[in-house]
Structures are given as structure tokens and as C-alpha cells.
Symmetry: none
Subunit: 210 residues, 4 copies
DNA sequence: CATGAATGAGGTTTCATTCAT
DNA sequence: TATGAATGAAACCTCATTCAT
């Protein structure tokens, strides 16, 4: 499945005083545009307008449309990953059920506090699916979880990598489904608890007792 | 998150003999085009060319691009759903672990026999996410599983709906991830087995003994 | 202002038994399509559908789209012209005011009994404006009126051709305007009477007493 | 007789200096294209080419084809209306025959100095017939004439609105007919004089002496 | 003769991107 | 550096017309 333009094209790293504000504005605008109209209605002009800058300026910060979308997606995914990493770090050496509870809670929090953003970025993520970006961040998550599992106070895992892969990826389906249906909060909560149950029982099943 | 064009646009379908052939050709062509180039490189002209018909002909069967994509996606999802339904039907009254084994196997089979198609349609599904189409088929799957769980010979479930939701949606994340990374078959197989384990242990955990 | 396709293309004169019905159906359908959608939304397929025949059949009777439109327009204009001619014939040898009264009444009747048709055909007439068709029929009207004026019992005209031209063409503007605004019947009637007044006073002004 | 797209679509107009030139070029080109080929041969591409700009530029100023045509038509009709208004303003308080003479002369002048344009825009006007545009301008003309008639030094009118309607609309038929036939100037002139006669005698007929 | 599926040139419109100001 | 008018390739879609059945 060859893509036509694999090389992203970020022109500069905006570090100066004024640019921060501009970058932020573009960022928010991009999400807003995504929110009403979806990915296929997003145009660079539209984003620039919404951000209150000219297209030219936008292109000064993001060399092309893909870079822009990639950046926005990256920011979102980074938040999620960092939430996961932070939680994983904080839950080391705990029993499995504590770890999982914390992890699932953190993941849901990261995805559901701005459900609109998650929803808006779904299509973007799908389009850039094969891209390194998504892969890299996925791996970071899984790595964090691998370490976490290895430190469990009440279990030992033969194949922590696969376990981590299963747990991590199995969370995204339910969350996406909840977002797509605009499920009521109570149902979200029920699902969340069930996922904790599922993960815990799964991990216990494959764990060697300690 | 309002979408601009919710109503698909399927043309009144021609009724003559040759039309069947034409429609099939277009269909196949659509998948082929999707397979090399991805959703964003798909154009109606390209599909028509590949199908060996004129654009006009394509538009006689699918009123617009969205209808075409929706139809292709529907076909794929229908296959998956029907596989699930068939398996669910065949596994009634069995113990939970038999059910789950059959179900996961069927789901993987449906998704992995033509991994290219599944992969190609991922972006399409994301774009049409809010659409009834995806929702409807998801629900059919879940309904089938609800019935299945209710018939388990060795368990009784208080909230089979949520359970079904969790099990169903939790499968799609891992599968998608495997597709995205082009994971080797052995890893696919390992993940599949783990998912069986996970589902079984989850369902046993929430089941009332019988 | 050269047109690209001056030669109309009437394939055959339908005189047989069954064709009369078909031709009639196409005719009505054409008007109906014109009535909702205007001239730019009219397509041969649409007309055929509405007429309950296939496009192929339509093309058997009218070699191309222009022929169809020309035929429909001609029919309408012919009715008007014939109404004028009939009235002109019937009003010979009368005093001017009687002639004019009858003439204007007949013209209004022809245009206003099916205001929708008149309105629908306006754009068609404009498109085919330079065409012989419209010119020919216009001339027939004027000729009839020239003869009529020549027979007036109470006036003699030096330049009946110009007089006829003025009277004839001066009627179409007001009628078109009434149609465009969907003017209420009372206003239509008032305008009609005023036009009689205008024409009579004009003709008296330029007439040599008798 | 419902139209499908009543709302025109004028873009927010660019504000830079060069834009004025561009807009003017497009405008002229549109008329030129209309002049050879008629309304049905006019395409946005063709207009842009003739204007020496790209299609994209054209669409920056006119959101769609209809807007473009509407704008051109409006400009033409505005000239006519303004000519009428100016003349009406200048002829206040004169005797009827002076007013009419001036009015008819002005109207003919406005329509006949660029007969090609008038002719080219006829079909355009017919297509946009129901649109506000035409209605609004018609009304402006009539209003001006109502005021004018009210100020006549030698007549008083009971129903100046109807009178104005009749006079205004009765002028367009003859003019259109002259344009359609490419009538020789002498005949144009003769008709013009006759129309003056007609209008004057009509107005005198319905006027209350003073 | 009638049918209606197929054709494909061509029309309208969009939008990522550039570059003179 | 910011601007936004201009570009034009390319997408989507329509519809008059043909011709095999």
C-alpha cells in the first residue's frame, strides 16, 4: 500500500516569542475545523482563517497539509501516551489490579475529557495509519506497560510484550465505539469498569503466581 | 459534530442482464484502487478506468463517490457480521470457552483472509464513522453475541449487553493494530490466542456460576 | 452572434396511430419538466421518464434536444398566433376600438389560460430567440394585424406595417412582466384594459380620419 | 414553478489593489464570451481564459456561474435603470409629451448603444427571470416613472402605478424585437417615434386635464 | 420499433501551494 | 516575516446521444 508522499515536511521549529501564540492558534483552529466538517472538509485556507492568520503564515509553520495534520494528531496522541506513561511510572511495584485500575482510568480520562477532539482525530489517524507517527507512539505506550507489568508485585509474566500489546490495543476499540455512538456517561463508566475487570482477569490468567 | 451530507445517494439500479456484470466489475475495481493508493488516492475516474467502464456508467450505479465507498464498506462489514452471526448461531448452548474460541477464530478469519482489504477500508470506515451503516452492523454483531451469551451452558450473565459490547469492540483494536504493522502470522496467532484467553477469563469473572 | 448548431433536426413526422399518443405524452412531459426545474434542469432523460417512454423512443421522434424544445415552443406560439389570426379574421371591417378590444382580449387569453406554460417557455424562447421559428410566427401575427388594420371601418393607416409591429410587440412586455410577478388577476385585468386604451389611442393618433 | 437554487453565491471580495483590475477583466471577458456563442456556450473556463486569469481566480470573485451571470446582468440593467432615473429626474414638471420623448429616447439609447450586449443578456435575463434582481430593478424604473408622471405640468393621473407599469413594460417588447431581427437603424428610429406617439396619446387619454 | 445501459467529452468547482508585494 | 491573490491540476459529476439487445 504505497503512499505518494511519505516524507513529512516540517519547515521550522517555532521557538520564538510570537510564534508560540500563532502556533497555538493554528492548532486550536485545526481542531475546530475538524470538529465541524470532518477531515474531508478541512482545508488549509479554512484553518488559517479560523486561526486568524493568512495561509502564507500557516505554510511558514507547516510545510504542507500533512505536516499540519500530523502535528495535531501527534499532540493529541502524545497527551494520551504521556498520561499512560505517567500512570505507569506511578503504579510500579503495585499489585496487578491496582495497576490496571489506574491505567484504564488514565486512558479513559485522556480520551474522554475532550471527546470531540478524539472523535475529530479518528479519521485523521486512520488516514495516517501506516505512518511512523502512530506506530512510534503506540510503541511508547506498550513499552511503558511492559515495564509496568514487569514490576507487578503479585505476578510474573512470561511474554509481557504480547500481554502489553493485547491490553493496550484492546482498549482503543471500546473507546472509539463509545465516542462514535455518543454514549451516555453512565454507560461509559460501566464499560470502563468492565474493561478493568477484563484486563485484570486476563492478566491473572496468564500470570505465574508469586 | 455535524456532518454536511448524511444522505447517501444510491441510484435506481438498472435491471438488465449485463448490469450485474458491470456492477461487480466496479465493485472489484474499487477495492483494487483502494489497495494501491489508499482512500485519498481513490477517484471515481480511476475506479471506472480500472473497472473497464466509463465514469458515466459508474455514476449510473452509484450516485456519488460516497455511495460507492459506502457500498464497498458495507459489503466488507456484512461479510464480517455474517461470519460472526453464523458462528454465534452454531455455537449456541455450548460452554463459554467454546463459544469464545469459535467467535474469535471467525472474526480473525473474516478480517485476516484479505488483510489488504481490511486495511484499505479502515480509512473509509473512519470517514463514514458517524454513518448509520457502521452503527447498524455493529449492533447486529452485538445482538448476535448477546443471544449467544444468553445460551451459554455454563454461565449466566446479569448484563449481557455490556458484556457483548465489551467483547465485540475489544476485538477490533488488536486486529487493526496487527493490520497496521503488517504483523507476522505467528504474532497474529499468538495475539489471537491471548484474546481468547482474555475474553474467556473476563466472561467467567462476570458470570454467575450455573 | 453565431450559434453553433443552426440546423434543427426533426427526424420524422409522426403521423401513425400509436405515435400520436407518444408524441402527446412527450409533449406534456416536456412542459411538466420545464415547470419544475426550469430550462436548465431539463434533460432528455428526465422528459422521457416523465412521459413514460425510453430516451431512445424520444430520440426517434425528436432528433435532438433542440428539436424537442423547438417543437414545444412552436406549439405554444402557434396557439397564440392562431388565436390572433382567428380574431383578426373575425374582426375585419370593424372600427378600430372593436378590433383592438378583441385582439388584446384574445392575446391575453392565449397567454394567461396556462400562465405556467407561458412562464416555462420564456427561457426557451429566449434561447432560441434568433431562430427562424420565433421570427416566422411573429411575422404571421403582424401580417394578420396589418390586414386587419387595413380593413378598419373608421381609419386609414399610412404605415400599417410599423403600426402593426408596434402594437404586436408592445403587448408582450406587459404580459411577460405580469407572469414574472405572478400578478393577481385583478391587476392583470386592469393592465389589459389599459393596453386596449393605449393601443386604441395610439392607432387613432396615427390614423387618417375616414 | 420552484427554482432549485435561488440564493446566489457572491464571494467575500478580495481587497487588494490589483483585484480591481482582475474583477474588471473578468467582467469584460464575460460579456465578450456572451457576445460570440450565446449564453449556452458560456463556460467559466472560457470566461477565465478570455480574461487572462485562471479559473481559480474567477471563482475567488464569483462563487459560482450564476453569481457571475447575475453580476453582469445587474450591471447592464443598472445602467438602463439609472439612465431612466436620471432622465426622469431631469424631466420633472414638464408637459407629458416632453417627458415621454426624453424617456423613450433615454431607454432606446441605453439599450441600443451596445445592441450586442443587450441581445446577449436577453437569455441570461430569462434564465434568472424569477430572481429578485430583475424584479427589483424593474420596480426602481417604475417608481421613477410614477414620480415623474405625478409631476406632469399638464396632466393628473388617477392610477399612476398602473400607468407607469404599462408604459415601462410596453417598451421592452419592441426593443427586444428590434434586437432579435437586427433591424436597420431607420426602422429602429421609426419605431421609437411611434412609441413616443403611443405613450403620449395613451397618457393623455387617461389623464385628467389640468 | 422500443429499450435503457453505456459512453465520454466537457462543465463546474475545489484547494494545496506559491510568490509578489 | 506576513499577506492573500493567483494559480491550475485535478476532482466530481452531468447529460446528449448511441446502439446492442
Amino acid at each position: 500500500m504505497p503512499r505518494q508522499k511519505t516524507s513529512l515536511n516540517p519547515r521550522k521549529k517555532p521557538v520564538q516569542a510570537r510564534s508560540t501564540h500563532t502556533v497555538e492558534a493554528i492548532f486550536e483552529a485545526c481542531i475546530q475545523v475538524l470538529l465541524n466538517g470532518g477531515a474531508e472538509r478541512l482545508t488549509t485556507t479554512r484553518v488559517a482563517e479560523r486561526a486568524g492568520v493568512s495561509v502564507g503564515t500557516l505554510y511558514q509553520y507547516y510545510g504542507d497539509k500533512r505536516s499540519l495534520l500530523a502535528a495535531v494528531l501527534e499532540r493529541h496522541l502524545l497527551q494520551v501516551v504521556e498520561a499512560v506513561e505517567a500512570t505507569a511510572g506511578a503504579s510500579c511495584n503495585q499489585p496487578v489490579h491496582v495497576m490496571v485500575e489506574a491505567l484504564v482510568k488514565a486512558f479513559f480520562a485522556a480520551k474522554m475529557t475532550r471527546p470531540d477532539i478524539s472523535k475529530a482525530l479518528y479519521a485523521v489517524a486512520a488516514e495516517l495509519d501506516g505512518q511512523d507517527l502512530v506506530q512510534r507512539l503506540m510503541q511508547r505506550s506498550q513499552l511503558a506497560i511492559v515495564k509496568l507489568l514487569a514490576s507487578a508485585s503479585d505476578a510474573r509474566f512470561d511474554d509481557p510484550i504480547t500481554a502489553s500489546f493485547v491490553v493496550t490495543t484492546a482498549l482503543v476499540g471500546p473507546v472509539q465505539a463509545l465516542l462514535a455512538v455518543d454514549a451516555p456517561v453512565e454507560f461509559q463508566e460501566r464499560v470502563r469498569q468492565q474493561l478493568v475487570l477484563a484486563a485484570v482477569s486476563y492478566l491473572r490468567t496468564i500470570a505465574n503466581g508469586v
